[in-house]
Each structure stands twice: as C-alpha cells, then as structure tokens.
C-alpha cells in the first residue's frame, strides 16, 4: 500500500503566515516608532514603589477594553456579537456608585463589597438576558444586543437619575487606582481573568466546543454539544467582563457617568478581536491575538496623545495606521510576503496553488489561501496559529 505522506507534527513553531505573528509585528513597529519619535515613551520611573510611565499607562488604559475583548472573543467564536457591553459597563458603574453614594457608611469596605457584588450580579443578569434572546428566542445577536445597547444606557441613567455620581470609597477606589506589586490593580485583575479564561478554554474542552458551535452549529448539536447553554454562557461571560470593566473605568475617575462611560467600547473590543485574527464568521479564535489587538489600539491612542497629533488629524492618523495593520493581515499580502521570504531561502520549493476561485473569502476552497506555509513542515497551519494562551 502506498505511503501516505507523514509530516512532522509542529505544534509550537513560529508560523509566519499566522495573523498573530503579524499583529505582534505591527505592535512592535508601533512601539519602535514611539521610541524614536518620543524618547520619553519608555522612560519608566518608580514612585512610591509603583511603576509609572507611558507603557504602564497603556497597560492600565487597555485593561477595560481588553477585558471586554476577551469575552467578546468567545462570543464571536460562537458566531455571535454583543453590542451591549458599553451599556452593561455603564449600568455596572451606575449601580455600584449609587449603592456607595446612598449607603450610610460610604467609606467602609463592606459597602464596597456590596456595591461590587451587586454590580457583578446585575451584569450576570443582563448577560443572561442577552443569552436568552439569542439562544432561546433565536433573535439575531446583533439585534438582540442592540436592544440592551439602547435601553441599557437608559437604565443606567435611570439609576443615576441622569447625574454623574461621585463617591470616594478607599476599597473601591483600589480597583481604579490601586497597585499590586508595583503594577496597577486593573492590569493585574485583567491578567488574572485572562489566565483563567485561557486555562478554562485550553485545559477543559470548552474552547473546542465553542469552536465547534461557531463553525457548524447543526453538526455540533447533533454531536450532542450543548450549543444552547454554551451560547448562553458566553453572553453571560462577556457581560460579566463588561461589568468588571465598568467597575474599573468608573473607579478610575471616582465617578459614574451613565451617559458617557464605555461609549463605543463595543467597537474597540470587536476591533481588537478582529485585529487579532479571529473571524467574525465564528469558529477558530485566538486569545493571544485579541490581547495583541487591544494593545495595538491602545498604544495607538497613547501615541497620538503623547505625540500631540493635532485634534483634527487624530482620527485620520488612527485610520491610516489601522488600515496599514489590516493590510498586513490580509491573507493575500501575507501569502505574498511569505512567499518572497521563502523563495529567497529555497528556490526549489514548488509553487503552491493559489486560490483561483473568485470569492473564496474566509473559508477558502483552496489549500493555500488559509495560510501560506512557511515551508513544507507547516502542515497544520491552524494549530500553529494559536499562541500559548488559546
């Protein structure tokens, strides 16, 4: 019997065709650019035992977006989307501040605990609501969550009576301005959530099942996967991350602004996920990519601020950079760059068939289009796609 070609299994090789690699390079370029334009950018100083400097600001300011983006990654992997995270964030902030503000002992840790607990619980309920609409009633996710996106902000303002509520509670403020081991508490918290999610999806079968539901829901259902509960769960989870993010952002300024807090954060979160290489069509996802995506966005913002780009040019500047990042991500361009690199190395390697069908887009028909192999050993492009965090 003829041999089937066997390939060395390369699970941990750096695959130049993976979107994650390109996201990482984009981030690197951005950082180098900063270092050149802005010599002070990497200047870290230690003050009262805490780290300060632009990189720390980037990490701290990315925390809420990143947190939500992690939840959003899972939602998107199931073919969904959640537009309501901004509203949930606002509600969480509004609820917690209203509780602190209205309590008889606004500065006690117990009050903070009640406030945090209630806010998180409200977040879970809202997530359950979204999940219910999507997985049980069967409304398209974008519309189902649009409902809460609109009404949720109203609810938040109802809670605060349209006012910006301020309150000082040391325990609560720690969420916004505290430090752990010299790092801002927000960063540490986010890292923690990230690690838990990574462990949950990689150490258990959750990741695979989510991908199965996102790739072929009917096949997953017939294989006995609890598609409905999985879908439901990811919506609950993303709302939870939004609620945590709400606590952070509001604690950060010691005020709950129901109308403006987290405005457009859903777009940032989705953008981060997509820059990280996860397809909105559902299926395979990459948490590493999401982290990189969020970092790219935040670094970009911080760059424009520290560079002092004139206000009227800020958006154009960001647009141009983001377009550049996207172009790098384009499978065709990556393939072309990858080929150039490869043929420079070995000219004997045969040309790989290029997609010929018009319109092979996210799920190409052709072998070559999903990922151009760096060389013949990259037999399983998608297993190497995923970084350590998946």
């Amino acid at each position: 019997m003829p041999e089937t070609p066997t390939e060395p299994r390369t699970r941990r090789r750096l695959d130049m065709s993976s979107p994650v690699v390109w996201a990482a390079s984009a981030l690197l370029v951005l950082l180098v650019f900063n270092a050149v334009v802005n010599p002070g950018f990497f200047a870290l100083r230690i003050q009262d035992g805490h780290l300060f400097g632009s990189p720390v600001d980037v990490l701290k300011n990315v925390a809420p977006t990143l947190l939500i983006a992690v939840g959003m990654t899972l939602v998107i992997a199931t073919r969904g989307i959640d537009l309501s995270v901004g509203a949930v964030l606002a509600i969480s902030g509004a609820v917690s501040f209203t509780i602190i503000d209205g309590s008889s002992d606004p500065t006690s840790p117990a009050t903070a605990a009640v406030a945090i607990g209630t806010a998180l619980a409200v977040g879970l309920v809202l997530g359950a609501w979204n999940g219910f609409l999507v997985s049980v009633v069967g409304i398209q996710p974008i519309i189902a969550t649009l409902v809460l996106m609109t009404a949720g902000r109203g609810l938040a303002m109802l809670v605060t009576d349209g006012q910006i509520i301020t309150a000082e509670n040391p325990a609560f403020d720690w969420l916004g301005g505290g430090f752990v081991l010299g790092l801002p508490a927000q960063v540490v918290l986010t890292l923690l959530v990230l690690l838990v999610v990574a462990a949950l999806t990689r150490r258990t079968a959750l990741g695979t099942l989510i991908e199965a539901v996102g790739t072929n829901p009917e096949a997953a259902r017939l294989a006995g996967v609890r598609s409905r509960s999985i879908t439901w769960t990811v919506y609950v989870f993303v709302a939870f991350t939004a609620a945590v993010a709400g606590l952070m952002t509001n604690a950060n300024v010691s005020a709950a602004d129901a109308n403006r807090a987290g405005l457009f954060i859903e777009l940032d979160a989705i953008l981060a996920v997509v820059i990280g290489g996860t397809s909105l069509a559902g299926g395979r996802y990459s948490l590493t990519g999401t982290v990189l995506g969020a970092l790219i966005l935040q670094t970009l913002t911080t760059t424009t601020l520290t560079m002092g780009v004139p206000d009227e040019y800020v958006r154009l500047f960001k647009a141009v950079v983001i377009i550049a990042v996207f172009l790098l991500q384009a499978p065709r361009i990556r393939a072309a760059l990858g080929r150039r690199r490869r043929s420079a190395r070995t000219s004997t390697s045969p040309a790989v068939p290029v997609p010929a069908v018009e319109g092979d887009d996210v799920r190409p028909l052709t072998p070559a289009s999903s990922a151009e192999p760096a060389d013949a050993t990259a037999a399983e492009p998608t297993t190497t796609d995923q970084g350590a965090l998946r």
Binding site: I164, V253, N259, L305, T306
Partner: protein
C-alpha cells in the same frame, strides 16, 4: 429627575388660555445638561406652562423631526437647544409658516434670516473662553506657564468657541504657552487619559485649561496619580461650575471656574409668555453668569442648586 411616561397626549393647547411649549433638548450628555433640563421642567410647572419635552439623543435629525411633530401638535411656542448651529432654516421656516414662534436656548443657530426665531437665550461660549484667558493672563502672566488644554468634543461648538476665546485672550502674553492640546471629549475618563499622556510627554506642564469641569476632574485624578498636587504644582482653570467642580475649587484643586449657567428655565418661561402674548422681546438674551475663584466658591457652595 425622571418623568411620568404617561403624561403625554394632550397637544393643541391655547383654547383654554394655558400655553403649551414644545421643547427639544439635545440629550443628557452631561450633568450640566441634566441640570438644564431639570430647570426647564421645574420652571414650566411653576409658570403653568404645559411642556411637551423631547430628547434628541444628541442627533440633529431627531430634533428636526421633534420640531416637526410639535408643529403637527400645534403647540403655542417651540423652544430648543440646537445640537449644532447650522441647518435649521427649513424647519424654522415650517414653524414660521405654521405661525408658531421659536425660542433658541443655550446655543444659537447661524441662520442668515434672523426673523426665523424670536429670540436666543443662552451663554456666550467665546466670552467664557475669554474670561478664562483673562484670568490666566492676570494670574499666570508673570512667570513662564506651560498650559495643557483639554478640549471638548472635536468639532462641537462649545469646544471651538472656548478654545477661540481663550486663545484670543492670551494672545500677546509671551509667558503663557499652550504646549499641548487634545480632545478629552468632555468626559472625566477622557480628561484623565489625555492628562496622563500629556504629563508623560510634556513634564514641564504647570497649568491646565479644561473646557469643562468633568475633564478637569479627570485631569485631577491623573495629576494626583502622577504624584503632583493639583491646584499648586499644576494650576487649573475650567468652565461650567457644576457642583463637583465647585467642590474641587473650594478644596483648592481647581483654581478658577468660569460659570456656564444651566438654570435658564425661569428666563425661558418669561420669554415664552411674552412671545405668545405678542410682546416684543430682545433678539439676544444673555444668561446671568459669573466666575468663581476659590474664595467665592467656598461662599457659593452651600447655595448651589446643581
């Protein structure tokens, strides 16, 4: 506060002598705006004017369609705070054809034909910027001052005007230099993030001009986190004089606030009654506004309504 959602349904007043006013508000984008709404609602009740209130959620098209629906409902007088200055001619013309007088509040429109509205009641943003600038010249002009300007939403009229007024006032004062200028979107979070970045890139900054109190409050957080003392190491001017801002002023964290008074409900109702009765009113009514230093703030704080 919240209002009774069941109270609508009765348009077309006038027959029984009471006045019906259609009021289209920009939205509820800030504490200032909520205070403004509150004042209008309270004053209407006090004056016995029936208020048809509509919130535009920050969108001009919603305001236009709200005004159209006021026209359909045959209200006696229409008042609104335009989202943006331009683009009101058509709908104002419709109101005029329907014989309904219009009062502008808070922000003006740039219509060439000023017969389209009866009067404009509101503050002058350029003037506010000027007042801020004049105080800066007086108090900072003597030593080198590096100002960080926290702008409002890019393209919004208050942001543009406050920037312009301030720039006019400090022109020619060599010691005062605006070294960084970024939009903080009128929010605390925006103010904080922008200030953090500015402090990193421009360590010499020793003064802040914020287009509203919220951004100033956000900046204070950033300044404190960076280990500096707001109001001393870095002096702050801001605009609005909402309660939290006044508190910070009284606490010495802000140095000077230009008031932008949201409580124009009373004046509005007076004007409305006159307009409906056919009396003459001035084309421009400026709201009574002042400025606050730290001492004045301590004094004024207990009686502050918003």
């Amino acid at each position: 506060g919240s209002s009774d959602s069941g109270s609508g349904g009765s348009g077309g007043g006038g027959e029984d002598g009471s006045i019906t006013m259609g009021f289209s508000q920009v939205g509820a984008e800030s504490g200032w705006r909520t205070a403004n709404t509150q004042s209008i609602q309270d004053s209407a009740e006090e004056a016995g004017i029936e208020l048809q209130f509509s919130d535009a959620q920050g969108e001009q098209e919603n305001q236009i369609s709200a005004i159209r629906s006021f026209i359909q409902q045959r209200v006696d007088v229409i008042a609104f705070s335009p989202v943006v200055e331009t683009g009101w001619d058509s709908v104002l013309l419709e109101a005029q054809r329907a014989g309904i007088p219009v009062i502008l509040t808070d922000r003006s429109v740039d219509s060439e034909d000023d017969s389209l509205y009866e009067t404009f009641l509101g503050s002058d943003f350029v003037e506010e910027g000027k007042k801020a600038g004049e105080w800066a010249v007086e108090n900072w002009g003597s030593q080198p001052t590096y100002v960080a300007e926290l702008q409002g939403t890019t393209g919004a009229a208050p942001a543009l005007d406050r920037q312009e007024g301030f720039a006019d006032a400090i022109e020619g004062t060599d010691n005062i230099q605006v070294v960084a200028s970024q939009s903080g979107d009128f929010t605390r979070a925006g103010g904080r993030e922008v200030m953090e970045a500015m402090l990193n890139s421009n360590p010499q900054i020793n003064a802040v001009y914020a287009h509203n109190d919220d951004m100033a409050l956000g900046a204070i957080e950033a300044i404190e986190a960076a280990g500096k003392v707001p109001g001393k190491d870095i002096q702050i001017i801001s605009v609005d004089a909402v309660r939290d801002g006044m508190q910070a002023l009284a606490d010495g964290k802000i140095n000077f606030i230009v008031e932008c008074n949201p409580l124009l409900g009373g004046q509005l109702m007076d004007l409305a009654e006159k307009v409906v009765a056919g009396e003459d009113v001035p084309k421009r009514v400026v709201t009574e506004e002042t400025t606050f230093t730290q001492e004045q703030a301590i004094e004024a704080l207990p009686n502050r309504q918003y």
